[in-house]
Structure formats: C-alpha cells, structure tokens
C-alpha cells in the first residue's frame, strides 16, 4: 500500500545495502532524483538492473555503490560511451563491476517473467551470439509440441523497482504516459516499489496511452517535480539533451566527475534544494 512520503524516507526504508535495484525508464521518465538520494544516503554494494544503463547508472557506478550490473545496452544515447561504466569495467575504478549482460529482448522478457510469477521466459533470441557464453541467466528450453529449441532467460525479480511517473492521486495510485517502456513489468517483478511523481492530483483523469499502477502494488510514492531530469516527463518537461552531451566531458575525467558528484548531488541534497519532496 503506497503512502505519499518524502523521498529521503522512502529510499531509506525501501533500499538497502546489497539490494538488487531496478531504476527503469526507457530514455523517458528516468528516476534520476531517486538515484541521487541513493547516492546521498551512500546505499552500497548494489546490483543494478536496467535495460539501458544511461547516465543515471554512470553516476551510481562512479559513486562506487555498485557491485554488479544487469543490462543490455550501456551507452549515452546519441552521444557516446558511459565513461564511469567503462572505467569500472575496464579499470575497476572506483571498484570492479561484475556484469550480467543480455539483449534487450532478453532483458524485457526477464522482467516479464518476473512480473508474471514465472521462473523463466522463452524467446527466439541469443542465437549465434556469444552473449550466452558470459552469463548463467540464459539457457535453452525445448518446445514440448514441436521439439524446437528456444532461448530461456531467468526471471528478474529485483528487491526494489524505482520509476518516475507524471502523477499520483491522494490514495497513491500512479499514472504515467508517453513511452512507458518496461516500467510496469519492472514494478510488478520487484518485491518493493517506489515511484517518484511530478505532482499529486485529486483524480487521475484518463489520458491517451496512460498506464495506471494501483496503490496496492506500490510501497511508496514521493513527489519530486523534475525528478527525471535530465530525462523528461511528457507533459511536464523536455529531455535536456544539452546535459546528456555535457555529461560526456564530466564523466570522462575521474576528478571532474567526483567534483560534479560532490557539488551537484551530495551538497545539493544536504541543503534540500535540489529536489522538492514532501
């Protein structure tokens, strides 16, 4: 049962050292503010799951909080590499990063299996690829009707899912629209779920393309206007492409990154001005 809570308290309650955490959002609605709160609270030894790690995971990885990454595409879309991710994988800085690497189809189906209460999902995937040689969460299954061999992926059932959405009502029901990616599956696959929203409204008027997550599958809702920045929330903000491009230079250099993290995340949070939550 979701209650509307401060981001600080929601993160402190729901995210623990050593957890597997999925902060999802396919380019759109990426929950950056919640990730920054994790950084401020120093919650560590995390296994992070996400189809497209993006800048949000570059930041968590660079902050040294991540032990393992479960993913399928790790770049800064349209810009280049995730330098903190690469530095961790290639040089073990600030700590080594274990990888469980999939294709998008495989990751999406891992969440589907988790959301469906199944231990695995079947797909036509990974054929002829070396991917399966580097993970123990891809296997095969044989169709009992046709004898065809297909790929099987293990269900992904994170401890916590965190997503950002446009709105919640006072009961804690959440509404999101636009590209909704794999967020419903991530929430339903996880043991606990936190949603940050742009605003709380009296009633969730139906909208084209909207997905509603009932309050009773969520554990907390926090009001964080702009909580997806530099990603965006359709109807509230636009993607800050300039930030994504600027990130390349920040993340390329360990010192520049560390300074950015100190001033823009750690200090900002300490004063409580970076994200308004209630």
């Amino acid at each position: 049962m979701a209650g509307v809570r401060s981001l600080h308290d929601a993160v402190a309650d729901l995210v623990h050292d050593g957890d597997t955490v999925a902060l999802e959002g396919f380019t759109h609605l990426i929950p950056f503010a919640a990730a920054h709160e994790i950084i401020r609270q120093g919650i560590t030894d995390l296994t992070l799951a996400r189809m497209t790690p993006d800048v949000i995971y570059d930041q968590l990885i660079g902050a040294g909080l991540v032990r393992k990454l479960i993913f399928s595409w790790g770049g800064n879309p349209g810009v280049g590499s995730l330098h903190r991710f690469r530095d961790a994988v290639e040089n073990g800085w600030p700590r080594p990063l274990e990888l469980d690497e999939h294709s998008h189809a495989g990751m999406a189906n891992r969440y589907v299996a988790g959301a469906s209460g199944l231990p695995f999902a079947t797909l036509r995937g990974y054929r002829g690829s070396d991917l399966a040689t580097r993970t123990d969460t891809v296997s095969t299954v044989t169709c009992p009707f046709t004898g065809e061999e297909l790929a099987a992926v293990r269900a992904l059932t994170p401890d916590v899912a965190i997503v950002h959405a446009q709105r919640a009502d006072r009961a804690g029901n959440v509404q999101m629209w636009g590209l909704t990616g794999v967020q419903k599956e991530a929430v339903l696959a996880s043991k606990r779920a936190l949603v940050t929203v742009e605003e709380v409204v009296d009633a969730l008027e139906p909208r084209p393309g909207a997905v509603v997550l009932p309050h009773w599958v969520l554990d907390a809702v926090s009001v964080v206007p702009g909580g997806a920045h530099p990603s965006y929330a359709t109807g509230y903000s636009e993607r800050d492409n300039a930030f994504y491009r600027a990130w390349d230079a920040i993340a390329r250099d360990r010192e520049a990154f560390t300074a950015w993290l100190d001033t823009e995340v750690k200090a900002a949070g300490a004063t409580g001005t970076a994200e308004v939550s209630r």
Binding site: A105, Y232, R245
Partner: protein, 274 residues
C-alpha cells in the same frame, strides 16, 4: 545497437567528397536508398535513424519507422538524439510497451528491415558491439553491448548495416559475436532457425558490400563517386572480395541532399533548443 559517438564522428568525417558532398552524406543517402520498396523498418539510433528518416523524406514517404522504445509509425520532423525522444512517441501511429515491441512486433516476424549500426563487422556480416580486444595484458575496451540487435537481425525479413569503413571496423575476426549475420557461411542462419534472410547490404562511407549468394561472404559491389576499389580494400581488415563489375553509386540528387541537410539542421536545432 547504436553508433555510440555519432556527433563526434560526424564532425571528424565531414570533409567534402566529390561535388561538395561529404563521404558521410554519400553513406547516408545510399543507406536511405537501400530502403526502397520496404514497408516497415526497425530503426537503430544514429546512422540507421538518419537513413530511415531520409528515406521517409524522399522516396519512401509511407515507410513505417519502428523504434525499440515502443513507437510504431513515428514521423519525427528532426533527427532524434536518442531512441526515446518525445517526438518519436508524439508522432507515432501507436506506442506499445518494450516487451510488446520485442515479442509481438519484432519476434512476431512482422518487420521488413532491421537497420543496424556496428562497431566491428566481419566478412560474414556478423557484428560486434560488446567488447574489443586491445591486445595482451590490456583490458578489453568496453562497447555499449547488444541492445536489440541480436533479435533484430534474427527476426526481421532482412538486415541492413551502416558504418564507416576502416580496418578497425572491418576486421578479419570479431573479438566477440554480439549479433549473428551470416555466421560462418551459407546455411548457418537456417541451422539456427532464424527467420529472415539476414544482412543484405553493408553501406559505408566508401561504398556498398553485399553477401555473395553462394558463399554469404561480403563482396564489394559498389563504390561511391570518387572512391576507388583499392581505397575500399585498404580500409578493410581482410582480403576483400570484389564483384566482377563494381559499379559507382549514383551521386545524391539535389532533393536527397537538401532533405538530408534539412533533417540534420532540424536535429541540431532541436537538440540545442530542447
């Protein structure tokens, strides 16, 4: 599945080719032309997206663009920076979830062309976007990873690849097979139960390679205006086979060039203002 550093490389490769056209523009125009007759295209971000949008703006106005973020029938007015730009959703005929996209639309075998970028390609059009060896004692260089590519290549009716030509990119042996093209030769796709015909062309800034129907090995069939066969062979990391008669791609028409430049200018402008 994307070209990771589109913007940077575009700047570096912007030296003019024949007739005031850059080699990148030749690549992009020919990549767009490769979509002639296609109805639906699963579009990778970066060069494939440029090509698919140019095709829509020129000879294939009804081409249905499908992005893995869940958009079907997107009609962006500018080149998207990411695969999840808002305009892709706002202009789409339908927006579906990511699992639905991969399961019902891609795996369902409904899509004509999968258009992909690549970091490394081998002679059978297999693709590596995962890791690149930097030699003994040095850690592998990390690339973005598979994204949608393995299943796009397996499940679309055919695959087009677009990347810049260099010995770093066209290698004798992949450091890692992320996405199977033709495997180790004819019959491999059938052996793996793959649906589509696989890579039909690799379009580069120097010319076009196509698989030999008999051997599935990539063969140079076309060069761009002003490019010699030797130049292409020099930029290829294996002993590139050459078709008996290599033709020259038609130079971009004024319409193609104007449409391409307008798309890119709109993309730059959109990125700066948004």
């Amino acid at each position: 599945m994307s070209e990771p550093a589109e913007d940077e490389r575009t700047a570096a490769a912007a030296e003019p080719a024949a007739h005031g056209v850059t080699s990148d523009e030749l690549m992009e125009v020919n990549a767009a032309r490769a979509l002639a007759g296609s109805r639906t295209c699963f579009v990778g971000i970066g060069l494939p997206s440029t090509a698919a949008n140019l095709a829509r703006a020129t000879h294939e106005p009804d081409l249905v663009l499908i992005y893995e973020s869940g958009t079907i029938g997107s009609r962006p007015t500018r080149l998207p920076l990411s695969i999840g730009d808002g305009e892709l959703a706002e202009t789409a005929d339908a927006v579906v979830t990511v699992p639905e996209m991969f399961n019902y639309w891609l795996q369902g075998g409904r899509i004509d062309v999968g258009f992909l970028g690549a970091a490394q390609v081998d002679r059978f059009a297999n693709v590596n976007t995962t890791v690149v060896s930097r030699g003994a004692g040095r850690p592998e260089a990390r690339l973005p990873g598979a994204g949608g590519a393995p299943e796009i290549a397996a499940n679309c009716r055919k695959v087009l690849l677009v990347l810049r030509h260099s010995r770093r990119g066209f290698v004798p042996a992949l450091d890692f097979v992320t996405t199977m093209g033709h495997g180790s030769g004819p019959g491999d796709r059938a052996k793996y139960g793959m649906r589509g015909e696989g890579p039909a062309a690799v379009i580069t800034d120097l010319g076009i390679l196509r698989p030999d129907p008999a051997t599935a090995e990539l063969v140079l069939t076309e060069t761009h205006p002003g490019v010699t066969v030797e130049q292409v062979r020099d930029a290829t990391g294996w002993d590139l086979r050459v078709a008996p008669s290599v033709t020259t791609t038609a130079p971009p028409t004024e319409h193609e060039l104007a449409a391409l430049r307008a798309l890119k200018a709109a993309g730059r402008k959109g990125r700066e203002t948004s």
